[in-house]
Symmetry: C2
Subunit: 775 residues, 2 copies
Amino acid sequence: MVKHMFLEDVNNLISDDKWLIFQNEYNTEVNPRYETLFTLTNGYMGVRGTFEEGSEGERSGNFIAGIFDKSDAQVREIVNAQNWLRIKLYVEGEELSLDKCQLIEFKRILDMKKGILFRSMLIKDSKDRITRIEGYRFISRSDLHRSAIKLFVTPVNYSGVVGIESIIDGTVLNSADSPKHRVKHLKVADNSSLNKSGVYLETATIDDDIRIATGSAVRLYHYEDKEKNNIAKFKRFLPLGEMSIEYFEFDGTENKTVVIDKFIITYTSRDVKKGLLKSTVEKELFAFAGEGIDKELQRHIEVYEELWSVADINIEGDEEADKALRFNIFHLMSSVNENDPMVSIAAKALHGEGYKGHVFWDTEIFMLPFFIYVHPKAAKTLLMYRYNMLDAARKNAALNGYKGAQYPWESADTGEEETPKWGFDYMGNPVRIWTGDLEHHITADIAFAVWEYFRATEDIEFMLNYGAEVIFETARFWVSRCEYVKELDRYEINNVIGPDEFHEHVDNNAYTDYLAKWNIKKGLELINMLKEKYPEHYHAISNKKCLTNEEMEKWKEVEEKIYIPYDKDKKLIEQFEGYFDKKDYVIDKFDENNMPIWPEGVDITKLGDTQLIKQADVVMLMLLLGEEFDEETKRINYEYYEKRTMHKSSLGPSMYAIMGLKVGDHKNAYQSFMRSANVDLVDNQGNTKEGLHAASAGGTWQVVVFGFGGMEIDKEGALNINSWLPEKWDKLSYKVFWKGNLIEVIVTKQEVTVKKLKGKGNIKVKVKGKELTIE
Amino acid sequence: MVKHMFLEDVNNLISDDKWLIFQNEYNTEVNPRYETLFTLTNGYMGVRGTFEEGSEGERSGNFIAGIFDKSDAQVREIVNAQNWLRIKLYVEGEELSLDKCQLIEFKRILDMKKGILFRSMLIKDSKDRITRIEGYRFISRSDLHRSAIKLFVTPVNYSGVVGIESIIDGTVLNSADSPKHRVKHLKVADNSSLNKSGVYLETATIDDDIRIATGSAVRLYHYEDKEKNNIAKFKRFLPLGEMSIEYFEFDGTENKTVVIDKFIITYTSRDVKKGLLKSTVEKELFAFAGEGIDKELQRHIEVYEELWSVADINIEGDEEADKALRFNIFHLMSSVNENDPMVSIAAKALHGEGYKGHVFWDTEIFMLPFFIYVHPKAAKTLLMYRYNMLDAARKNAALNGYKGAQYPWESADTGEEETPKWGFDYMGNPVRIWTGDLEHHITADIAFAVWEYFRATEDIEFMLNYGAEVIFETARFWVSRCEYVKELDRYEINNVIGPDEFHEHVDNNAYTDYLAKWNIKKGLELINMLKEKYPEHYHAISNKKCLTNEEMEKWKEVEEKIYIPYDKDKKLIEQFEGYFDKKDYVIDKFDENNMPIWPEGVDITKLGDTQLIKQADVVMLMLLLGEEFDEETKRINYEYYEKRTMHKSSLGPSMYAIMGLKVGDHKNAYQSFMRSANVDLVDNQGNTKEGLHAASAGGTWQVVVFGFGGMEIDKEGALNINSWLPEKWDKLSYKVFWKGNLIEVIVTKQEVTVKKLKGKGNIKVKVKGKELTIE
């Protein structure tokens, strides 16, 4: 076993290398990236990987799913809650500052198998005293309200008084690093010490008085003392305004290791009533500190084991790809709370303030497939968030003059539209942001996701009780959204933005129109199915939603007559009406990372006048509704649009990679996959510090399973495996749930093996066109 | 004229060199010392000389006289109030941090003539953009509630967006640099923007809900624009928890200077009713910002001119001494608020948190003579503080079982005893502090100060209405404090600490007993004078205070029989009973600064067993009551105790210097004087960062006027001048008020000239024994 740490006990806890992400150098320039990479989250709470001691330029973050506030911000945003990580050490009064002292050794390790962040350092202060600090932290996935930090502190070459500040820091801000945009979302409601032990900081959001309660307690003892007797000889509680501090002192002895156990309990008024918060936190903190860290850690590891038993994918022959993929899966599966149907996963997950904690189509289109196939319970919960926001979506539609339910482009806790109306361009000039007004495809994307979940799980309970209502209400929206053009006898959807955001205010975006058509059609199909198979549900819902036969007639008419711009001769779908008339530039130069370079002569302030696009749009359509397009159409459109896509979104490369593999263009697939897998690890977009590229993580999983792994659902709803492995890869194995069964697919260059691991009944699978039945 | 600054307007404002104190190097090690040296105060408020930008390791301080709080502290302490200095600059988003950017040029100048702190720097950021920042600040002595900062910001080699944060920072703590002792004394009561302009932060003390209200407003304009048109193109108010922030942006242009005028108004609920605080601040801020900085600055300078017209002392031939003395006088005279009889000057003045803002005998014995002779109105106000605390002193006496008024060793706003009971020794071990229990001489010191003021000013109004009551009540305390010892037929004062704190729990400390005796005697004298000359006052006060003839008999008896330990043969006063039996060590070695070295064999944990003393004790007695001792007694005692004084208090050297000069020992006088004058400038005690050595400043003035300048009052109450000049000095001239007249004394080695500058009536002065009458 590799020896990463000084103490054997800690070494023994660390998993094998394939599960580990390393930071080997302390550097204030790259620390903020590692803070994102080393974010720990259990879906309930996400805590960025800042240091206990704090560091220069850090962007601390503690985000609790579902806790939003506007206050002085532009829109409601995820609240950066009190930071309970803080533990500061003082040797004979001198602070062991990571920036002012000398770091002789430094290492951090994220253990993805166990969801633990390890650290180790040797730090020398101004008086040449050397202290070893190592330890770890975790946010329990077993009890979402429990977190813990364990630090081992060893005076290496001195003896002396060591002071410890254990802090819950409520001075936190959102946008803290921008003096122009800083916002305070919290005021302190209670800063006190707890009767039993520890300290308590309760904050309240400005707008809605949502309470966030944090309790923390510390135990100090000698490493070798099995009874863990307290060694603090001095202790004081300091309620310093917005900071709740416990200060301890112990007599440090040369080469004698002291253990600091910090127990943290978090509850909010979303979890328990306001009046019960403090007593709940106190009780739980007392129980946790009494039990000790190890048992909770063990349960936490067991939950991760369970998750990985399905989610882990092995790529043999390519360690880098194997680990990078695992990194994406780790963060994706850590970011969901399968038990809270009032929250979803934000574009940056719980890893940073980027995109203000808002939920976009990223969740349903890019991330959800992973959950549908790997953790269907979580997928259902994510869809339940949209179901629970239906009322707000109806309100949104009504506000805009439409019927049914129109989902917001950016969604927070209320489900209302949260897209900022104004932003800044690269020159700092204000620009109007139109996506909240015009990027309507989100509504069809959500209906699509409901259907995809149902297709894979056959969860009829969900569909009857929740999903159908989403599909009906979104279909209804589209019917009202379409405008009838009499002279052409067709329905149009004008003035939208499609997935490609270079072009605003376009008419009849093919992606939007096609998904709207599909959405209405699925609505009609569902109605018929209900009538036929579940008449009591049909009556109930048609009654509740006032669905009449007349309305169905209207739906049918609209569905049939929605216009999709299409060049029949070339078999080319036109991205939107008039797109082919735009100035045509073809990308022919790539930078050292094989990323497109702007073609010569392009005016980047007028991209709307060109055929250059930001990301997959028509290709995206053909990926989602693959069964609706023949292979030739896919190939032709892929080839056309691929040359015009600038990949200015991290969502792009993975989607082109999948489509490339489907139409036989393997040349860029591996590189696109690695770019997607490494977007955060290598920070190739330069903004990892803002949070995880969660959609890209989902896209990365999709490239492996749907692309290389070749899994797709055909028109008949059957599972197909049409795999293709990159040169380096010897073997790829992944697991998916399919209609209630857990199956494993093992792909080598020679053969494909499909095994059923769990579930009853036979499954039909087509491997490269050949039908197999697995028992 | 020396060119200190870049801009001519600023240069023209700066006084001649003899008025200037420089900081030429930015260094986080020495910055905290300069923060004390560069503290600006008008007696109402003291603001430490931290940087507008903030800096690493700074000890910011804003102390408002009379605002104390205990909360979680050991005792009531001066509150470190919200810091309104903060102005942070951002060039294209990068903070101009003094610690992270490169300081190409740096200079700060304290102009003592005008009470202005100037600064100038050239700062280079990480992108090699160079910005010149210069300007100044002042705390108005004309309107105590007004302060202002003027900064001139010039982009030297770039154009770009410059951001400005103007902050009122309420996150301040007391003992901020000690995680063990940090205390929060304030909570935010109001953080809002003002209707007219600017922002407002109102804080409340924890215990008593005393409110501190700060308003600040900023004006931004181009230097060359005489109309001062606003150039901020963006502005936002950010109420960030405990910080009230205005953020501005302007387009910075290469080589075009922008002026930032920051106006600050401070009021507290000691000044106006709570409900009126905000409207008062708003109105005053609007008026101040409307008028502009220059007029207030002019009025402020005029007040300083007036003060200096009496206070300034010129030493010709010794520039270092001349400037160092001026520095002491500057801070001493700046630290008094002659209009607030509810506050006094703390041991560290308003310059730091040292000694918690408490008032000791330092004020009456070391500082007050300066005010009595230079600024008698302020002297009266300082004594009125003690008069106003009489009730608390009575309560204190009653608590301890005594009669009359017993003043606390450490006094804050209530006048009750505020000496901490416990402290820490150099090893960090807790030690019981006995001074609050035992250092009783403070009560006689205050009575002495009342008398000294009266003697110099003949302010009979003060004496009749206030002073007499202090003397009676303190005399009464001493009478009750004395214990009659029947077998010796004498009164004793046992179990005290004298001025020398090496010896605790001593009996019959000569200083204490002699001053107690003197105090009772003065009480009796006063009674007689009142009876004789002011019978209506006598009747009123004897009625009010229940002074009976029987009690006067008792006073007389005690006064006559108080025991003073004395060795008749040697003409030596024994510091306390049994002192001469202690182990005798004589100091014979001195360090490179001519400070005593512990004699060999001394156990410094048992100093109470030796004759070594911390500071003047018997010598102090002979200085205060000089007219009671003949010259031989003074010389013998001086010689004896001088060899045994370790000078572990900054109060010591100046007192020995004066007595040395009186008894003809000139050898150490100049060095002692310079040590005293430089205690903060050179930081020879190493703790200047904690605040000004205010008593030493007063002592420094006393050495010059009472020592070298030779001024003393003889038994008949006549002014004597017995001067002696150090070798270097060509001429010394000082001014004093004497019995309502302002006189100037000009001393050269050849002659002494005494001039009357103001006042009516003749004055009798003895110059070296020769009587003169000055008309």
